[in-house]
């Protein structure tokens, strides 16, 4: 079979599966964080079973060994079928997997990878309150000691913006083992069990009512040296593997979901009797065009990745265009909905275009701030794609 035929066969297969199995009531079943987590666990387990949960893993794992082109087909279909996004298992199957796969010891791999498929979830302990976009400025301190004859790190500090850490079993943790030299040096990468004494987690109340993120407080947390990935002080390089683990599929998936969700805007226009309002039709038309373009750039980005043609900055463009369109989409909803949208409605945890327009609107800021703010992306585009000069390092007040 040709590649194309293979892909189309896969597409039919996924479609058939989804037609039979896809959850339809998941939004109503995700009105609380706990219900959302349960919905996520169930759907992840079903996808693992069906072989669609970890297409990017090696082929020794059931459902693994898929090409990026095949992964794209699977995600496209999941998006078009409007299934729940795999948010809870996202860090486990992408970030934890990539870190383990590329940098961990065989013992670590053997210990953790199968458990991910059984539903163990991970969180990421990278960001810190003072660091923000400047990740390398992290301060969470680990001191190496011998306790009960065992070499351990004793960790103190605080992490923030850790996705669903309140439900996580394990954590990908960046700590500072030295403050000598450039700030990237002296960073060490640990795998931390969230049940270790001294770990406490506090969910972050987001302005739209979601609790997607949490803070992690580390108070004399003892982590065996065996839980380190890579060498001491070389954690920055390992973190790059973690961060590079997923770039492309999510934005493609989200863009297709936004295109699907344009029907919500159409419903709103009709509900509010604006079908004859030419200004509204123009604004809607412009939004349709913009969302189409975002789908196209997300597609193109993935296609380039598949062909090995990705350049620095490409991902920044996709992310920026997506967040711009999401903003326009949700703002139009808030505007057209009028006063109705100012009354609080039940939110859907973990979804971006729910038709609860104020929630969606506020949530859209997560995309222009988190994971490298729009401002940082613009710097990357200007300096690394367009080769404009960087700001000098010595430029300090």
């Amino acid at each position: 079979m040709t590649d194309t035929a293979n892909l189309e066969a896969l597409r039919s297969e996924v479609r058939s599966f989804l037609e039979a199995e896809k959850p339809t009531d998941w939004r109503d079943a995700s009105r609380t964080q706990e219900d959302f987590v349960q919905t996520q666990r169930d759907w992840f387990a079903r996808l693992v079973q069906a072989g669609y949960a970890i297409p990017h893993w090696p082929k020794e794992f059931p459902g693994g060994g898929r090409s990026l082109a095949e992964q794209k087909v699977i995600y496209e279909e999941l998006a078009k079928a409007d299934c729940p996004r795999l948010l809870l298992s996202f860090v486990s199957t992408y970030h934890a997997f990539a870190t383990l796969h590329e940098c961990a010891s065989e013992a670590q791999k053997a210990q953790y990878m199968p458990r991910i498929l059984e539903g163990e979830t991970w969180c990421q302990g990278f960001s810190e309150p003072g660091a923000g976009s400047d990740l390398a400025a992290l301060k969470c301190k680990a001191v190496r000691e011998v306790r009960d004859g065992q070499e351990v790190y004793v960790v103190n500090g605080q992490k923030i913006w850790s996705t669903m850490a309140q439900f996580a079993d394990m954590c990908l943790l960046l700590v500072r083992t030295s403050s000598e030299g450039v700030k990237q040096a002296g960073i060490t990468y640990l795998l931390m069990d969230m049940k270790t004494p001294g770990v406490s987690v506090s969910p972050i109340h987001q302005i739209q009512g979601d609790e997607e993120f949490a803070e992690i407080f580390l108070d004399n947390v003892v982590i065996p040296v065996e839980q380190r990935v890579g060498e001491e002080g070389k954690g920055w390089a390992v973190a790059q593997a973690t961060l590079a683990s997923e770039r492309g599929l999510t934005l493609m998936e989200l863009s297709y979901r936004m295109r699907g969700a344009l029907s919500r805007v159409a419903s709103l226009i009709r509900e509010h009797g604006r079908e004859q309002d030419r200004g509204v039709l123009r604004d809607f038309g412009a939004l349709v065009n913009e969302v189409d373009a975002v789908c196209a750039i997300a597609d193109q980005f993935l296609d380039n990745r598949i062909k090995g043609l990705e350049r620095i900055g490409d991902a920044s463009i996709v992310k920026n265009s997506y967040s711009r369109a999401l903003r326009a989409y949700s703002k139009l909803g808030v505007r057209l909905g009028g006063i109705d949208e100012q009354y609080v409605k039940p939110i859907t945890f973990g979804d971006l275009n729910t038709g609860n327009w104020m929630a969606d609107f506020m949530n859209s800021y997560a995309w222009s701030i988190a994971g490298g703010s729009e401002e940082v992306q613009r710097n990357i585009i200007a300096e690394r794609m367009l080769e404009m000069p960087r700001e000098p390092k010595n430029w300090v007040l």
Binding site: S127, G130, G132, S133, D134, A137, I160, W161, I204, H205, Q206, I207, V334, R335, G338, I339, Q342, Y343, V344, M358, M362, Y365, A366, S368, I369, A370, S373, E374, E375, R378, W395, V396, L397
Partner: protein
């Protein structure tokens, strides 16, 4: 005569900038103590007889601290009573209201029907802090009416809103028989009363917006000066400085229009409606920038950014949305410029 800056100074002292959204009931008491319900009451009625500029200055300051006390609907309710030609016990009501009893004007449309027997059923929208109200000033098809909240066939139902600095209620009428002694106008007089109250509402909301936007800008500048990234304060990054400058430009320009309209007793109804449209637009712009420039912290409930944004979003809808007002301003300007 009381000078404007005395009012402003007193307001800033009573409601300091570092205490956002102070508790509602205590604020309301303080508001009454400050005599702010007397500000627009004519001297003949025992008030201070000050003009729009004075009330605008107070609403601006209350916007700045995201006040939860419903001074705007209260003042509008009072003005409806002041302007009423038909209210039986007008003097009595004026005394009660200026002493702090709360009879707000509703700030969203009423959708009510009058039955053959004269009873009224339906919903009067946008009653702010309805739980505090002894009566609501409502625009009924038969004219403006004071509707006691404890009357038969009258119910206040809370409609929770995103803006945590406000509580919004629907006044639900079910076969309510309006008390003729409590009518503020008849059906014909309602238009004239509406022409008085509409500009007052728009001016007050515009002041609330621009006071809030001013505070949002100050907090943003402060945050950028304090927060460091890549070893320097965010305030040193030119791209952010330019965005903050744009916030300043838009706020200052809209504020110039605010005071110009507040001082001009001849300002036309739609000129003030246009001001409200502009001010809400600026407030939304400023709060969006505030969130973005605060980064992650701005997305958390513990930080104050979202309070400004949610208030801006609700203000956009009260007493006419941006779309609605701009369309009317445009249509009227088109007709006038023939």
């Amino acid at each position: 005569m009381i000078e404007l800056n005395e009012l402003t100074d007193a307001a800033q002292k009573a409601f300091p900038a570092d205490k956002l959204s102070p508790a509602r009931d205590a604020s309301w008491e303080l508001t009454a103590e400050m005599g702010w319900m007397m500000v627009r009451l004519p001297e003949d009625d025992g008030g201070l007889g000050l003009d729009r500029e004075a009330s605008t200055a107070i609403h601006f300051e209350m916007g700045r601290v995201l006040s939860c006390a419903p001074l705007i609907p209260a003042q509008l309710g009072l003005q409806a009573v002041i302007a009423s030609q038909t209210l039986a016990e007008r003097a009595d009501w004026l005394e009660r209201l200026s002493a702090g009893e709360y009879a707000p004007l509703h700030m969203l449309p009423a959708n009510v029907d009058v039955a053959a027997d004269g009873t009224v059923s339906g919903t009067v929208g946008g009653v702010l802090e309805g739980d505090m109200a002894v009566a609501v000033v409502a625009k009924l098809p038969t004219g403006y009416a004071l509707i006691p909240t404890d009357a038969e066939g009258v119910e206040l139902i809370e409609r929770p809103v995103w803006d945590p600095s406000r509580r919004l209620f629907d006044l639900v009428l079910t076969g309510y028989a309006p008390d003729p002694a409590l009518m503020l106008s008849d059906a014909e007089g309602a238009a004239a009363l509406h022409d008085i109250l509409g500009p007052e509402a728009h001016l007050a909301l515009a002041a609330d917006c621009l006071g809030g936007a001013t505070a949002a800008l100050a907090l943003t500048v402060e945050y950028l000066g304090m927060r460091k990234q890549f070893d320097r304060p965010l305030a040193m990054f030119q791209a952010l400085k330019h965005r903050v400058a744009d916030m300043k430009i838009r706020i200052t320009t809209a504020e110039a229009l605010l005071w110009s309209r507040a001082r001009d007793p001849q300002a036309a109804r739609l000129q003030i409606a246009g001001l409200k449209a502009l001010a809400t637009d600026v407030y939304q712009f400023v709060t969006e920038e505030m969130i973005q420039l605060h980064g992650g912290i701005g997305l958390t409930e513990e930080h104050q950014c979202h309070l400004f944004m949610k208030r801006a979003m609700l203000n956009l809808q009260l007493c006419g949305s941006l779309d609605w007002l701009n369309e009317r301003v445009g249509a009227e300007a088109l007709a006038a410029l023939s």
